[in-house]
């Protein structure tokens, strides 16, 4: 079952074409990797899916409960409400909020009670808040940050910040999760744990995962399908083995002999 369909999306910044006729179909339950040299336009692809940039050309369709939703040009908050959530390459946690509040606020987009019931702490609000709190605590337990729940997010070490960002994204109840370099800055041991973690949340939360990664170990290890981007153009697509032996990919990474 196809979840997300990207049709010939092009993003231009003035004269620069960051992404050129990008095509992708994400099937439910798969983990797809996006790789490519620095500046290839990988993060731009994420930004255009999540609504940070509007595509110059092309169309993005999100399929939810068998109904097709055209999400091209929607605002980022509308897109995450529909069920596509992301993490950031250069970690964007809410630094002044506590670890728990960071995850808690991920639930906020599904809140039904209004601001007045929140101020007056009416039963309909407190019930929701309690659910949000319990879900957040569960997610923190899943990423192993229960002990740090009252610490400020900025005081966490790098690896934990990455995990917190994933927990925060999971709090929004996504059906598609976009991970932008989740293993960046992690040591080999942490990287291994992360791989296991990604596979386990995929099954538990019924996710479809699309990730950008430079660690080849991660990409080759957990992705069934890999796309390679170079200068905004998709140059190869296939299984890890096919990608490893593709001369175009080798050329893009190592240059021409």
């Amino acid at each position: 079952m196809i979840m997300l369909k990207i049709d010939n999306v092009t993003v231009k910044f003035g004269g620069l074409t960051a992404v050129n006729s990008f095509k992708l179909e994400l099937t439910k339950g798969e983990i797809v990797g996006l790789i490519g040299p620095n500046g290839a336009g990988k993060t731009t692809v994420f930004n255009v899916i999540t609504g940070v940039y509007k595509p110059t050309e092309g169309k993005i369709t999100f399929i939810k409960d068998k109904s097709k939703i055209n999400i091209t040009g929607l605002r980022p908050d509308q897109i995450s409400k529909l069920g596509i959530c992301r993490t950031f390459q250069n970690i964007r946690l809410f630094k002044d909020l506590t670890v728990l509040e960071n995850v808690f606020i991920g639930n906020h987009l599904r809140i039904k009670s209004n601001i007045f019931s929140s101020i007056l702490r009416l039963p309909n609000y407190t019930r929701e808040e309690r659910e949000m709190y319990e879900k957040s605590m569960y997610l923190l337990e899943r990423v192993g940050l229960t002990k740090e729940k009252d610490e400020k997010a900025y005081s966490l070490p790098y690896g934990k910040q990455r995990r917190l960002e994933i927990a925060r994204a999971l709090a929004t109840n996504p059906s598609i999760l976009l991970l932008d370099e989740p293993a960046a800055g992690m040591n080999p041991q942490e990287t291994k744990e992360l791989m296991k973690f990604i596979e386990s949340i995929k099954d538990e939360f019924d996710l479809t995962i699309f990730l950008i990664e430079h660690h080849m170990e991660v990409v080759m290890g957990i992705c069934k399908r890999i796309l390679v981007l170079d200068y905004g153009i998709s140059i190869a697509e296939g299984s890890p083995r096919e990608i490893q032996n593709n001369p175009k990919v080798v050329q893009a990474y190592l240059g021409v002999e």
Binding site: P76, H108, L120, M132
Partner: protein
């Protein structure tokens, strides 16, 4: 259950409020009228400081239009509470518009109406202006406050123009001013503890991340701005009915500056800080009046310069911004 622990302090705060009310009762009986007036002003500045802190400190919207919202609140409340005979005396240049000529509401509904009108204006202004960020927002809101002042100066048949309003019933007493102050403190406390309050803070922290987490930036900004304007209107209404006389020139930029001073000194995003700073600064504004007068130290004497005391605040503000950006009182 750990979740419940968060709200166990409730009974404690009720106790504090009771103790405070007793102190207020004693002060109300013992202070002379001049000191009582300062006490009233303290309460009003708590309301105003917190309302600006909600917008600037918690949500991170750099708004400088507070004086405008206060003017709206002050005029609405004043016009609704003034007895018809007094209105007739005030409006000798041009008669007051008929629909306002004979209304005389009691204070509470008039005050709430003042807040409401101010909130509606906040909503209408916010809609176009909150798309801007940082300095642009500051300039736009500042311009709005000036527009309000100029409009009020020229609406002769509604606001009595530059002559202002005199003989507004002096209803505001310590119970009104501090009652509203306590309500505002509680409102902000519960707002910021809840999901919406945390959403405001997250917007201040990182707009892009907040939006990626599904928070509708515009909707939340306008909620914060409207509540802030409502409270500013209430503060303005209290102020008008304390002073007994208002005119458009009262609501110039320096008034916004005073409130901004309270917010920055107390700490952006700190309820406790703003409350304490509001009291201290309001008292200091009066206590430092001797600096405006000529000073004779025996061997040397200075001539009085009006406004000297503001230099103290400016120096204090600079020191805080340089050495303690989080404000004097902000907890960790």
């Amino acid at each position: 259950m750990k979740y419940k622990k968060k709200y166990k302090k409730k009974s404690n705060s009720i106790l504090y409020i009771c103790i405070f009310l007793v102190i207020l009762y004693i002060l109300n009986k013992t202070l002379d009228p001049y000191k009582l007036r300062i006490l009233n002003l303290c309460g009003i500045y708590v309301v105003l400081g917190l309302s600006l802190n909600l917008i600037n400190g918690f949500t991170g919207l750099f708004s400088l239009g507070h004086a405008g919202f206060m003017a709206i609140g002050a005029y609405t409340t004043a016009l609704l509470t003034m007895p018809p005979a007094m209105k007739e005396m005030n409006f000798f240049m041009q008669p007051i518009v008929p629909f306002l000529a004979n209304v005389e509401w009691s204070f509470l509904p008039a005050l709430l109406m003042g807040g409401l009108v101010s909130a509606i204006m906040g909503f209408l202004i916010g809609a176009p202006v909150l798309k801007l960020t940082d300095d642009y927002l500051a300039i736009a809101t500042l311009g709005f406050a000036e527009i309000i002042r100029v409009v009020f100066t020229n609406l002769q048949s509604i606001t009595n123009g530059a002559l202002g309003l005199k003989g507004i019933p002096a209803t505001t007493n310590v119970w009104w001013s501090w009652g509203m102050a306590i309500l505002t403190i509680l409102l902000l406390k519960y707002l910021m503890k809840g999901s919406y309050g945390i959403a405001f803070k997250s917007i201040k922290d990182d707009e892009i991340a907040a939006q990626a987490m599904g928070i509708n930036l515009f909707k939340h900004k306008i909620m914060s701005f409207t509540i802030g304007s409502f409270l500013a209107g209430i503060g303005g209404g209290l102020l008008g009915n304390l002073l007994g006389t208002i005119d458009p020139n009262m609501f110039r930029f320096p008034l916004t500056f005073n409130i901004l001073l309270i917010v920055v000194l107390g700490g952006l995003g700190s309820i406790k800080g703003t409350t304490v700073a509001a009291v201290i600064i309001t008292i200091m504004m009066e206590a430092l009046r001797f600096l405006d007068e000529s000073i004779n130290l025996g061997f040397i004497s200075f001539e009085g310069i009006p406004g000297m005391r503001m230099v103290v605040f400016s120096v204090l503000l600079m020191a805080v911004v340089i050495f303690r950006k989080e404000g004097l009182l902000k907890e960790s």
